[in-house]
Structure formats: C-alpha cells, structure tokens
C-alpha cells in the first residue's frame, strides 16, 4: 500500500467494490448504499419480499394545493 494519492493498491481497490455488509446496526444511509441507491438522490425506498423500489428526491410534486375538505358546488 501507499500513502500518497498517486499510488494504488489492489487490495483496497477490491475492497471498494465489495458489497457493504449490513446488519441491524447499519446506519440507514449505508443500507441505501448497500442496496445500490445514492442516499442523496432518493427520498424514500420501499422494500418488500419481492422488490426494492425508490422514489426520487427530485420527484416533482403536483403544483396544486391539497383541499382540506370535500369539494361541493359552493366551490
């Protein structure tokens, strides 16, 4: 191994590509990375027994206000 940014190490380079081990103490951001997601680009991830699907952080919510009550003809 080397101590300068100009050097290279096969061992640590391999370590960088290995899957990140995850257990119940793993911080959520590291779990997201282990699942292949960039924590900065997703707002939520839903894991089921059959799939893992994320919702993007830059998902464009509809530009309309939610209505607190049911609309009627008075609206």
């Amino acid at each position: 191994m080397t101590d300068t940014p100009d050097g290279a190490s096969d061992d640590t380079a391999q370590a960088a590509t290995d899957p990140t081990p995850v257990d119940n103490t793993t911080p959520p951001v590291d779990v997201l990375r282990a699942l292949g997601f960039d924590p900065d680009t997703v707002r939520s991830v839903v894991i089921t027994s059959t799939s893992v699907v994320a919702v993007a952080a830059d998902y464009p919510d509809p530009p309309v206000p939610a209505q607190p009550e049911e609309p009627t003809d008075a609206d």
């Binding site: 290279a8 640590t12 990140t20 590291d30 699907v53 309309v64 049911e70």
Partner: protein, 288 residues
C-alpha cells in the same frame, strides 16, 4: 543543452498539485484517518480529514482531497458524480376499476346502494378506463312506479400494479395518470363546462360497499379544470407513491359530490384512441 525530457520534468515539478475526487472505503475513527479510492483507480490510506468542515466521514462518501502543507487532506463531501441513466416509461392499465354510483332521491327517501362494478383484465380496456366523478343533475322519476326524481352520485376507485410495473432496484421519478375529459354534464350533457378532476387515494382491494371511504391524509387534490376533448396528465404526489409501494394505499380515485364537477374522465375509445387515457404513466430509471 537541457534535454526535452529534463525540461518536461522541470515543468511538472513547478505545477501545483491539483485537488482530486475519490470515495471513502474505510474510516478509522480512533486514528482519525480514512482510506480513499480515487477515481483513477488508485487508493490511498491514512488520510486525515478536515473535521471542522467535514465532521463525519462515511464509507461511500464521494470526497474532495486537496494538497495541504503537510500532505493531502480530505476537506469535504463532494456532489455525487452525475449518473446519466436514461429514464424509462411504462403505461399501465388499471388492474381493477371499482365503479360507484348511488341513486339519491330528491324527495328525501333513502338513497340506493353504492358500488356496482368491478372491471379488470377480463373486461375491455374501454370499461377498465371508464372514470366518472360528480353529482348528476336531477333525473326524471317514474310516476307509474312511484319513483321520485333523483340524482346520481359517482365515484371511481382504481388500482394499478405500481410496484410490479417497474424492475426491482428502480427509482421512480414520476407517476402520472392520463385523463381525457370525455363528457361533462352540468347544464346539460356534453356542455362545455370546465371541470376539475378531484383525486383521492383509497385502500380498496375488493369491490367496496357503502359510501366511499377515502384514505385519510391523502388528498383530495383539485387539479386544473379542462373541457371536453382536452387531456391532462396528472402527477400523483411522491408521498402517495411511497405509500402505494408500501401498500398503505391501494390506488387512486375520483369523487366530487357536486353537480358542477360531474364528468366522465377518460376511457379508451373503441375507435382506436391511443392517447393512454385512464392509464398510469410511470417514469423510472435503473433497476435490474
């Protein structure tokens, strides 16, 4: 005479070292040192970090490393390198379309039953994409059968196979429903009256009974008005998509107890309409 190679070495020695980017592969909090794998494939151990600006280095962080008086220093977390993964889109038909219609007598007598139709993949695309909301104008009664005049109150609850429509590992960047204003009724069927779609979320996984019970905390959302022949592509809020993926909600619906909001929104025409009306448009990237 100085050789060209010697000149190149002299020039190289005069160039200042440049900041570099890499990914942290190990953190030694005891020694306050990290290992960084640089983007050219090289790796460096035992790098210090600037704890004031970057207090909590973590494995996987993309960081900038700059030359310092005593060596190299990890100074900050860098913006992730953009990953140019093309978006993909898929159009999805409803897996179920629960049609609701309640007859409300104008004389104050008891209203009729509610939900009457569950159309699914065994039915035509036309019926699966048939969406109606609103309260009809008064309908004529039947003097012979002593049936008083009445109004129809309409609701539609739709389910779509959201999670099953994208590959595992995907990131959904938008979920939309395509609606076409097919007919409006306030002031007479086929009027040019503009109508706003009123969208709710629901938890129905079978044909409902009783008055519509929409999922609390998810809407209603009033979208902009449109008139007969126009198409809107409505974005489902991100929080709804997360809830939908987690089965906290089962789908979306349209409902409005108002005659001014009585309309057919969308169905695929039998004349070959291919605009995707009544379908869910899912935009995503990645996945296996």
């Amino acid at each position: 005479m100085t050789s060209p190679a010697a000149i190149r070495r002299m020039v190289a020695q005069m160039l200042p070292a440049q900041p570099r980017f890499g990914f942290i592969t190990a953190v030694d909090t005891g020694q306050q040192l990290v290992t960084v794998a640089f983007e050219d494939g090289s790796t460096t151990t035992s790098l210090s970090w600037a704890s004031s600006a970057y207090p909590s280095p973590a494995v996987g962080d993309r960081v900038s490393v700059v030359p310092h008086t005593t060596g190299w220093l990890v100074v900050s977390k860098a913006t992730p390198r953009p990953v140019l993964v093309p978006d993909q889109q898929v159009l999805v038909l409803p897996s179920h379309n629960y049609g609701g219609e309640q007859e409300i007598p104008t004389d104050g007598s008891a209203p009729g039953a509610w939900w009457w139709a569950d159309t699914d993949a065994t039915d035509s695309d036309f019926s699966r994409t048939f969406i109606e909301q609103g309260l009809s104008d008064a309908q004529a009664g039947d003097t012979e059968g002593h049936r008083p005049p009445y109004n129809y109150l309409h609701a539609t609850a739709l389910t779509y196979p959201l999670a099953a429509s994208v590959p595992s590992g995907a990131t959904i960047s938008q979920v939309q429903i395509i609606l076409r204003c097919s007919s409006t009724f306030a002031g007479g069927s086929g009027s040019a009256h503009p109508v706003a779609p009123i969208m709710y979320a629901h938890t129905y996984t079978a044909l409902p009974s009783g008055a519509p019970a929409w999922a609390p905390g998810y809407g209603p959302i009033r979208f902009p008005t449109f008139i007969i022949g126009e198409i809107q592509v409505l974005t489902v809020p991100a929080a709804w998509v997360t809830a939908w993926l987690a089965s906290t909600i089962a789908g979306i619906g349209f409902y409005a107890p108002a005659t001014s909001l009585d309309a057919f929104f969308s169905h695929q025409d039998s004349d070959g309409d291919d605009s995707g009306t009544g379908q869910l448009l899912i935009t995503y990237s990645g996945g296996s």
